[in-house]
């Protein structure tokens, strides 16, 4: 079942399209990273998925076919917006009471136990919590809803390394215990490489990659050889990134089909996720907004 599925999804602000013709699918059970440069449309996509924004074109469904933003969808999705907004004039205990009343299912004992574990006092107003504690409070309120899908918008941006680690620890525990699917946008590639097993790559309002990290890594290779033969080889292959040095050429290539033919005289290495992301971001930056990737990769997730 696809926990998220979009078809031709688009959103414009006046004449500018923040998101355009966005088609991808994410199966249930993954912790997905949504990456892309600033202004790529990540927040717009996340807001469309939780119903904060209405689509100008196309459709978005969640939790296996529910329209994004519908009442049933709101019941099963928890969202933590950028900067983890909480009512700063209320205590954590009162935030829990509010969340319990605003939701069909909410688990106050779980929320209290988690805040206790995190040493966040229940009787302290959120205004007096640190940034990391506030993010943890927002995450706890989201997880205590027992969602099937957790959507996080830049949850790590304002956190120090230790708080990042703790925050991701909480997310991973929820994935492990409850099987929550997660979609989180972030710039912290190192952290994502550690935890994400699905990748959605967005540049200039378009989805360029949406696939499991496992598949991406297994279908991409870095080929290295003396620079002379690079042109001849790159013509035959689906090259994502072409880096030429004086003596050597590094080609990041995408393989289609089970075999990875390595041209004679070339060496092949597996590509890491961070390397892949950077290569795709550079590649998309060069080809410009209108150009689609050479081979559509956007729908590969749906085929699974």
């Amino acid at each position: 079942m696809n926990i998220i599925e979009t078809a031709g999804l688009g959103k414009n602000y006046g004449r500018t399209w923040a998101l355009r013709d966005c088609t991808f699918a994410m199966p249930e059970g993954y912790l997905a990273a949504l990456v892309g440069p600033n202004g790529a449309g990540k927040t717009t996509l996340l807001h469309l998925l939780v119903g904060l924004t209405a689509a100008a074109a196309g459709t978005a469904t969640v939790l296996g076919g529910l329209p994004a933003g519908s009442r049933a969808a709101l019941d099963g999705i928890a969202f933590v917006a950028q900067d983890a907004p909480v009512y700063t004039n209320l205590t954590a205990a009162n935030m829990i009471r509010i969340a319990r009343n605003l939701n069909r299912s909410f688990d106050p004992p779980y929320a209290r136990a988690r805040l206790d574990e995190l040493d966040i006092p229940l009787d302290r107003k959120a205004a007096k919590l640190s940034g990391g504690q506030r993010a943890q409070l927002a995450l706890t309120l989201a997880l205590a809803r027992r969602p099937r899908l957790l959507i996080l918008d830049e949850p790590l941006a304002a956190l120090d390394p230790l708080a990042r680690h703790d925050f991701m620890g909480t997310v991973l525990a929820a994935v492990g215990e409850d099987g929550v699917s997660v979609l989180m946008s972030s710039h912290v590639l190192a952290e994502l490489q550690r935890v994400a097993d699905f990748l959605v790559l967005l540049t200039k309002g378009q989805v360029h990659v949406a696939d499991t990290v496992e598949d991406l890594v297994s279908t991409h290779r870095v080929l290295t050889s003396p620079a002379g033969s690079a042109d001849r080889v790159s013509r035959k292959l689906d090259v994502v990134q072409d880096q030429r040095g004086e003596a050597q050429a590094h080609l990041l290539v995408k393989a289609h089909g089970p075999q990875h033919p390595v041209p004679p005289g070339w060496e092949a290495h597996p590509a890491g996720m961070e390397e892949l992301v950077l290569a795709y971001l550079r590649n998309a930056g060069k080809t410009g907004p209108a150009a689609a990737p050479s081979k559509p990769t956007a729908s590969t997730g749906a085929a699974r």
């Binding site: 904060l52 209405a54 004039n89 209320l90």
Partner: protein, 338 residues
């Protein structure tokens, strides 16, 4: 039969879940807005205590005044005179009270949505299971409702407080200073001000500018209604005569007509039949001067008997305005893209 039950069950599963009960918003609204609700209650409470105590004193004096027989006796004249000199100042409280609707609009209405928009917490509230449209409806009702009830009670108290001052002296029933503080008009103004605040907050999305805008709009509306609009609620009555309408009527204007029924400027009339005045030491022209010249003085006024009609018209108009603004606010929340 079994198949039918099964089919119904499957239908139930496919149908969207029933919305969460409205009562769930009571605690949510209370936790978030108890500060402003108790603030308004305290303010009205303190003012009510003042009006209550002063009102009792004034009513006591008035009862003594009314009970005096015979009314033409010197003692009674003295009593009436002393009531007037002593308690005419009781109407002064009307001026600070006039600020109440604007203050409530700014402090209770404007922040209710503007704060959510300014701090980004609307992204939290609108993605909870309750749903944003029902959330805003419940909030506006649960904050606005108590405000209207409090204002209604206070309006009745103000009507009672100003009663002797209307009967005995400085005020008339339709007095612009007190009319909108009484009975139906006050809750109408408070509700409209609250709706202006909520709408401005959702439109401007910043707390302080929304508060300032609300004060300006409600203040301006109050002046416009008091100075221009209210006198046209019903067509004014018109009578001829030198003395004008009874003192309890709300006199709107006066003019003169000549022999042919045409309107004549007051200067011309005054030149022909000079009246007694501060700049005029002569006793003034005799009463028959005006008819001799064919001049008639006309008065337009609203009689005191229209008090309740005017209360109903004002409250009804404000209720309509509030409904329009609340619907517009809900619509803004419903369609607002984050």
């Amino acid at each position: 039969m079994t198949a039918l039950t099964l089919a119904t069950k499957q239908n139930d599963a496919a149908r969207p879940p029933r919305p969460l009960p409205w009562r769930r918003m009571v605690l949510v609204t209370w936790l978030q807005h108890r500060g402003v609700l108790s603030g308004v209650a305290t303010l009205f409470g303190a003012l009510a205590i003042y009006l209550g105590i002063m009102g009792l004193i004034i009513h006591h004096a008035w009862t003594a005044d009314m009970g005096c027989h015979p009314a033409s006796s010197l003692t009674c004249q003295d009593l009436a005179q002393s009531f007037q000199t002593r308690w005419h100042g009781g109407a002064t409280i009307a001026f600070p009270l006039q600020l109440l609707p604007a203050l409530i609009g700014a402090f209770a209405g404007a922040p209710i949505l503007a704060r959510e928009m300014e701090t980004g917490t609307f992204r939290y509230a609108w993605t909870q299971g309750f749903g944003r449209t029902r959330w805003v409806i419940a909030k506006l009702a649960l904050v606005g409702g108590p405000l209207v009830v409090i204002a209604g009670a206070f309006g009745i108290l103000a009507y009672w407080y100003f009663g002797p001052l209307v009967a005995q002296g400085p005020l008339i029933p339709l007095d612009p200073r007190t009319f909108d503080l009484e009975c139906l008009a006050l809750p109408g103004w408070v509700l409209a001000a609250f709706a202006v605040g909520a709408f401005a907050g959702m439109l401007i999305r910043r707390v302080v500018p929304a508060m300032a805008t609300t004060m300006a709009v409600v203040g301006g509306l109050g002046l416009a209604v008091g100075l221009y609009l209210r006198q046209h609620y019903l067509p004014p009555l018109i009578i001829p005569g030198a003395n004008g309408p009874v003192p309890s009527a709300w006199t709107l204007g006066s003019w003169y007509t000549g022999r042919g029924g045409q309107v004549v400027s007051g200067y011309i009339v005054n030149a022909a039949c000079p009246g007694p005045g501060p700049g005029n030491s002569t006793p003034g022209a005799p009463p028959q001067c005006m008819p001799q010249h064919g001049y008639i003085q006309w008065w337009s006024y609203q009689p005191a008997s229209r008090y309740w009609s005017f209360q109903g018209i004002e409250a009804g108009g404000l209720l309509l305005l509030a409904i329009l603004l609340v619907v517009a606010t809900i619509w803004l929340v419903h369609r607002r893209a984050a």
